[in-house]
Symmetry: C2
Subunit: 222 residues, 2 copies
DNA sequence: ACCTGAACACCGTTCAAGT
DNA sequence: ACCTGAACACCGTTCAAGT
């Protein structure tokens, strides 16, 4: 039942999915669907679950950095498989056991790498925020148009007031999406996690202020 | 005109804004709005522009890392000022000159730090993906509920199959949102950018494969 | 010209009536 | 019990008629 809804979304986008549309697609009365799902939100939850559950097994070999990359790329592949769902998933947290396998593996890897539970949870959030954010901010299907719009917008700017943007017009358009841009950001995040870990291993702990979430040298503007 | 729409969204959320609703709010006929905007999408563009334009001036002092943090926090403050708009902004690229001031400053800072244009564009994308992703994935208003749901979900899991998640149940709930979690991720990203820069300064260039977007040791699974 | 009510083609959901 | 058509309270937008 949810699979039919997923098919509609994959084919025509999430806006095309209506209860009436889906019902006629299935050859039943509209209200019949309410026998299976209490509301449309319920139905969408089921669709997301359906889509999330079909990820492959994860090879747990190699250094922690390689394993983290593997898990993030698996999440990304999952998101790209059903592009129309990325935005829906932003507001529907991952809660089902099958989907939490990826979270579990990530937490295990982070733990083995040397992060304590508190930091591992935050590192996990960073990684997932990035994959989900990138998938919705830079959807694969919209990249070409985003590039055109970016180029047009930077071309219109007065070079005197916007020297950096006009000079980097082409590079900015390129960076509107695509696998290479995604990979660059991911490696930087992994670099960042590695740096914290090295700092810890070398005996130097984080300064107390930052450990509490106050980055050094930061003046609060409120 | 757009300001009235923004007020409705701020007050009752983006779903409450309809052409009919806004028209009656303004005491005019529904179709009068179509004299100002060609469609609802047009109206929403104007609303986003309205909201984006009200950011303060940026102090450009300090090390590049501090400046980048400042700019990212300014974008975040902007997003938090109109929480209902975060999701809308995901699909509406920043194109208006005023909004591009922040982009310009970011590119300038990255350039002065030592990134070439190509890399600066990708670093910019990473930073913006993170703020926007965090704002939509972990909205301030939804954090409490997300924490409850997270706790409930991890509590339901069999500890034998999910050792890391059940052990870190509390930490994971804490990491569902909030300023400290945001800051942690931001500092990691800045660490990552710093690491690339240091690698470059020390004369060691990125290995050719990674420079082209192929991270080292990665086996493509497709 | 400018504004707008009626109408059209849709929604999600409630409710009561069908089998 | 299970299914569902009609109805309700909404949408965005077109079109033609009002001033």
């Amino acid at each position: 039942v949810a699979r039919a809804a997923l098919a509609v979304i994959d084919r025509e986008g999430p806006d095309a999915l209506s209860m009436r549309r889906l019902a006629s697609e299935l050859g039943v009365g509209t209200m019949t669907l309410y026998g299976y799902f209490r509301s449309k939100a319920d139905l969408l939850d089921a669709v997301v679950d359906e889509a999330v559950s079909d990820h492959g097994p994860l090879a747990r070999t190699g250094a922690w950095r390689d394993q983290l990359r593997e898990v993030v790329l698996e999440v990304r592949r999952n998101l790209l498989r059903h592009p129309g769902l990325a935005r829906l998933r932003l507001t529907r947290p991952i809660l089902r056991p099958e989907a939490l396998r990826l979270t579990e593996v990530t937490m295990e890897v982070l733990g083995e790498a040397g992060f304590d539970r508190r930091e591992a949870a935050k590192a996990l959030r960073l990684l997932f925020t990035y994959v989900f954010g990138f998938a919705t901010l830079s959807p694969e299907e919209g990249t070409d148009e985003a590039r055109r719009e970016s180029r047009a917008a930077t071309a219109r700017l007065p070079a005197a007031d916007y020297p950096a943007l006009t000079a980097a017009s082409e590079e900015l358009a390129d960076a509107m999406g695509g696998e290479e841009v995604f990979r660059y950001g991911l490696e930087r995040i992994l670099d960042g996690l590695e740096a914290t870990l090295e700092r810890r291993h070398s005996g130097r702990k984080l300064p107390e202020r930052e450990a509490r979430g106050h980055p050094p040298h930061h003046r609060d503007h409120r």
